[in-house]
């Protein structure tokens, strides 16, 4: 039993890596059931008006892209399918808009979306809460330039949104991985202005964000990689998240087994 308590961590890493590589090379295609939360989130985006304008905010950097890139792709695709105008902008997370630009350009091309008319990438803006509050009062003043360094007011899509208020924006879709993130969008923009807020949350912070879903402050939440896999099924475009679910299921099983073994070992040595 004492051996159980002293398993070399490198064995666990090696086993984990083997499981990851094997399940990625030989996927099992296990079914992924769709939860009520994913359906609720899908419906919140699906049921926006046909001419809706949404802000899609990738509030993350390279550290979280493994989980949030697939969510960005799923949300952008869903919005493009519905014909919504999409504005990409974030604050403080400098890499976010750079990371997502490639995906946005590819999907926009697929749906015949014209840059500056149907979608725009405004890049990352400094200021966090100050940026958000300024955007509520004067979106152009807050953003000044887009991703390519052109004045924002020169684009037709920006003529639709002089301010980030419920009058001009139908929903904010925020991909969250830290501070500033969805709570700042809620406190400074969505709650005071009454704009619907849907978030994509990294698996780690799902329990922390659930009270906001329960209170209705977040209209919906894509809950981690698993939630994204469900969302991908709902929009009918299986992507990276769905592919990763076999691997994640196998890993969850391995971690659970090690936790059980570790606890058995701990209890046995404690009794001694």
């Amino acid at each position: 039993m004492e051996r159980l308590m002293k398993i070399d961590r490198r064995i666990i890493y090696l086993l984990g890596a083997a499981i990851v590589f094997l399940t990625m090379l030989y996927p099992l295609g296990l079914p992924v059931a769709i939860s009520d939360l994913a359906r609720q989130t899908y419906n919140e985006v699906e049921n926006l008006p046909d001419d809706a304008v949404v802000i899609l905010s990738p509030m993350y950097d390279s550290g979280a892209m493994g989980e949030l890139n697939p969510m960005f792709v799923a949300l952008f695709r869903h919005c493009a399918e519905r014909g919504y105008k999409i504005i990409i902008v974030n604050t403080q997370w400098v890499q976010g808009p750079q990371i997502v630009h490639k995906f946005a350009t590819e999907i926009a091309e697929e749906y015949g979306y014209v840059y500056g008319e149907d979608w725009i990438n405004l890049g990352s803006k400094p200021g966090a809460a100050i940026f958000l509050q300024t955007a509520v009062k004067d979106f152009w003043e807050a953003c000044i330039e887009d991703f390519n360094g052109q004045p924002v007011e020169s684009y037709p899509i920006m003529q639709l949104v002089p301010k980030v208020t419920a009058e001009y924006v139908d929903a904010c879709l925020v991909l969250n991985c830290g501070t500033p993130g969805a709570p700042e969008w809620l406190a400074y923009v969505c709650q005071p202005e009454g704009i619907k807020l849907v978030i994509g949350e990294i698996q780690m912070s799902v329990p922390e964000s659930m009270p906001y879903v329960q209170s209705g402050q977040y209209a919906g939440m894509i809950a981690g990689s698993r939630g994204c896999a469900e969302y991908e099924q709902l929009i009918g475009h299986p992507g990276q998240a769905l592919k990763a679910q076999d691997t994640m299921s196998a890993i969850a099983l391995m971690v659970t087994l090690f936790i059980i073994l570790g606890n058995i070992g701990y209890l046995a040595t404690r009794k001694k």
């Binding site: 300024t134 003043e141 780690m204 922390e208």
Partner: protein, 272 residues
């Protein structure tokens, strides 16, 4: 002129309040008054409710004692957020206590920071603590270090410090994110005594699992006041505690009212 722009277009109620913020103002005022009364009483030595002992706090002195016996340094990390975050402010209170203890026992203290502002404040706090203990000569400004503003670069640098300086005790109080597990795990493998505390629920499990002692959530604020006995901190925690008790009573009443009459508009009272 972003800040001034942000002041325009408020919608006054009674010519004074922004719509929907009256209860907010009352709550903030109430909290302010409670804190002001408690701080005043603490300053003038009049009785106020006492903060009860927090389990795990003695561990800080134990850890420093052990580092002293081993002749190895103590590391202190105040999280990775800036001075506008309450957890960072709580870390300052604990840092002062740790620095005093280290000065008293002539133990080397390494303070590792990820943001320029806490770096400046902590250098000041550490210097002051050494001065108050009558050991200004023992204070080495190079031991208070700004390592990087980038999260994982900071994490890498901290691991580097652990590897090279071989501290015996590791104290981490403040706002931590994904780096928490990296620190706690490395410290555990190196046989350090680790004490972790954060109000981030997504990181707490790692501190609970990998540290020898953990301060859970709000305990870090109370710890700061308990250790320093500084009237402002002490009065603030006591004032907040009274507000928490009031909130507890309001929730209890809210639950009872909602059960008796599910159609109640009791909750609407808080939306003015």
């Amino acid at each position: 002129m972003m800040w001034f722009l942000a002041q325009e277009e408020a919608k006054p109620v009674l010519g004074l309040f922004v719509e929907g913020t009256i209860v907010d103002i009352i709550v903030v005022l109430l909290l302010g008054i409670l804190i002001w009364v408690m701080v005043s009483r603490a300053r003038t030595g009049r009785p106020i409710p006492e903060i009860k002992k927090i389990a795990g706090l003695e561990a800080i002195d134990e850890a420093i004692g052990r580092a002293t016996e081993m002749g190895r340094p103590v590391t202190f990390i105040p999280g990775i957020l800036s001075v506008s975050n309450a957890q960072t402010l709580a870390a300052f209170g604990v840092a002062s206590h740790v620095a005093r203890q280290c000065a008293r026992y002539d133990t080397r203290l390494l303070v590792l920071t990820c943001d320029p502002l806490p770096y400046a404040v902590l250098e000041e706090i550490t210097r002051q603590s050494y001065l108050e203990e009558g050991r200004p000569d023992a204070f080495n400004p190079d031991d208070v270090r700004f390592l990087s503003a980038e999260q994982f670069a900071f994490a890498s640098a901290v691991i580097g410090v652990y590897e090279r300086e071989r501290p015996a005790a590791n104290i981490m109080i403040g706002a931590f994110y994904a780096e928490s597990m990296i620190f706690a795990e490395t410290a555990s493998f190196q046989g350090m005594i680790s004490i972790g505390g954060t109000a981030h629920t997504h990181q707490l499990p790692f501190f609970v699992a990998a540290c020898d002692y953990a301060l859970i959530g709000e305990e870090i604020y109370a710890a700061s006041a308990y250790l320093s006995k500084e009237p402002v901190l002490y009065g603030t925690v006591v004032g907040q505690d009274i507000l928490k008790i009031l909130v507890w009573i309001i929730i209890l009443i809210g639950g009872i009212v909602a059960t008796v009459n599910p159609e109640t508009t009791f909750g609407k009272l808080f939306e003015f």
